[in-house]
Symmetry: C2
Amino acid sequence: MKTKNKILKAIQDFVDDYGYPPSIREIAKKIHLKSTKAVKVHLDNLASEGLIERVSGQARGIRIKPKSIPIVGRVTAGLPELAFEEVEGSFTISQWRDCFLLKVKGNSMINAHIYDGDMVVVKPARNALDNEIIVANVGDETTIKRLRRIGKELVLQPENDTYPIIREAFEVIGKVIGVIRKL
Amino acid sequence: MKTKNKILKAIQDFVDDYGYPPSIREIAKKIHLKSTKAVKVHLDNLASEGLIERVSGQARGIRIKPKSIPIVGRVTAGLPELAFEEVEGSFTISQWRDCFLLKVKGNSMINAHIYDGDMVVVKPARNALDNEIIVANVGDETTIKRLRRIGKELVLQPENDTYPIIREAFEVIGKVIGVIRKL
DNA sequence: ATGATATGTAAACAAATGTTTACATATTCA
DNA sequence: TGAATATGTAAACATTTGTTTACATATCAT
């Protein structure tokens, strides 16, 4: 493996293990170089290729990309050398900043493909629009339902025909913006 | 807001903005303290409370918890002051280390509640067990199906009765370990 | 084989950065 | 009100850390 790629991997591993970036001397030690000059040259090259960002003159002034997962449309090769096509972006947790996950209990939302055991991603909000799927408190019960306006009345509508519409007073907690299911 | 909480927030914001932790002097500047001693005392207190971790004597040796989203069973209060009960852990992206997301196209897996437009979380693997949902290449098509053994033959079974079983040769790319849907 | 370029070493230096000491001020409690 | 404790300031010092200079070695192209 080329030194440059060794250095990039060393940085990524260090951030994973320690939670902050390595110093130039720590990188040198890890990949068995004796001089900080050599490491500096490689870091500057990695920066010019856009693989890292450098902040000159600052201790540990190396920024790597935040952890993310690639989103792909097609895989052209499997292990040991994965290859993707139609890479459509990457997934990071920061898109759900300030959100929380709510465990789904029950089958009241199955027509919206939200099933018992799923987790919904909830963006806290005080209000929501007609037809949005929301998290609300009814009394001291937390529930997931579709917000519907019937005349001037706002109600909570299950997405399962066997469940009744909820007409009691409720407090909007947030909007459902995603679903996560583990298999 | 107490100085200690200001410091904690300053660190979190700095890591978000810069991608690495602040120095003691940078924290001091941010919260308008003039001495590094005062910041050091607060940092040591935060560390003793387990809110951060300190690495003594190292530049920027402050570790905060990786970004995560709380998983809750119930919400007891909404905005402006969210309160949770039945907190069941937190969600981080690191559980899907080395995985990728594959966009779902088509309705072949709807009996498994995997719908067109979803993204499946794929853990790369060369093999899989009978009955697992996998990602496979058939020719140069990437597909999601359930792996089934019929006699000695391995086939790819759709989870939609209107689709045919695939008996052609295929290559296992990985196992589906989760589903993500954005609303 | 030779010259050009890339990569690495060694050392010095400058700056960044954390810790410590001595003291001042603010807050809390009896 | 006074003592104890918490919090902050200033400055010095030690260590960490990045950059630079001068040079050596390895690799590549002609």
